[in-house]
């Protein structure tokens, strides 16, 4: 099945800094999603982005399917951005496969 790898595994930022999280996948995908798990454990869907670029406030995501990667850009980070960011992909007719996540800590 498809392999999904995320980097970096851990990231510490000063409030106000920008960051890019990376997601590489081993096969062609027809579905790519980004999720944020907040410190209370809730999993929030950030983007459904099988290709192209989308923006939502300070967050934007880009998927380049031909190069088998997706990236999540966080600008002007805030402490509320802390948590774990997951990338998940579907290849063919299989359910979403999750990466191991990037743990982000934003310090005031």
């Amino acid at each position: 099945g498809i392999q999904v790898e995320q980097s970096p595994p851990d990231l510490i930022l000063q409030e106000g800094a920008n960051s890019t999280l990376r997601c590489n996948f081993s096969d062609s995908v027809n579905n790519l999603q980004w999720f944020h798990q907040n410190p209370w454990g809730q999993l929030i869907n950030l983007f459904y982005i099988p290709s192209g670029t989308k923006q939502n406030g300070r967050l934007s995501a880009t998927t380049v399917a031909t190069e088998r990667y997706s990236s999540l850009y966080i600008s002007s980070s805030q402490t509320t951005d802390s948590g774990v960011y997951f990338c998940a992909a579907v290849s063919g007719n299989t359910p979403l496969v999750f990466g191991k996540g990037t743990r982000l800590s934003v310090i005031a």
Binding site: N31, Q33, L43, Y48, P50, V90, T94, P95
Partner: protein
């Protein structure tokens, strides 16, 4: 509120017991899932139902049995609980099968002592 809701939020029980987790979604979605998140935060699918029919059953011990009385509900029953079953269990739903956004419930933290 439109959402995926699961109960209970916390479940503490002893080895050998049987327990159930309930899940309901009022989003009108056709597909529902159970995911397990282990202590290292890794998320792995357990089951997937489309319109009350089982479409995915990953390598999960048969002590775990999902039941979908209708397309808005997917419950998880676990028999003879073991220490290794301790984890957070997430219910989720999507409008269609795998190629639509996934929406999670808030999770049930199961602790087996």
């Amino acid at each position: 509120d439109t959402a995926v809701s699961q109960t209970p939020k916390y479940l503490v029980t002893q080895m050998g017991n049987d327990k159930s987790i309930k899940c309901e979604q009022n989003l009108g979605h056709d597909t529902m899932y159970w995911y397990k998140q282990d202590s290292k935060k890794f998320l792995k699918i357990m089951f997937s139902y489309n319109n009350k029919e089982l479409i995915i059953n990953e390598t999960v011990p048969n002590r775990f049995s999902p039941k979908s009385p209708d397309k808005a509900h997917l419950n998880l029953h676990i028999n003879s609980l073991e220490l290794g079953d301790s984890a957070v269990y997430f219910c989720a739903s999507s409008r269609f099968s795998y190629n639509s956004p996934l929406h999670f419930g808030n999770g049930t933290r199961l602790t087996v002592t």
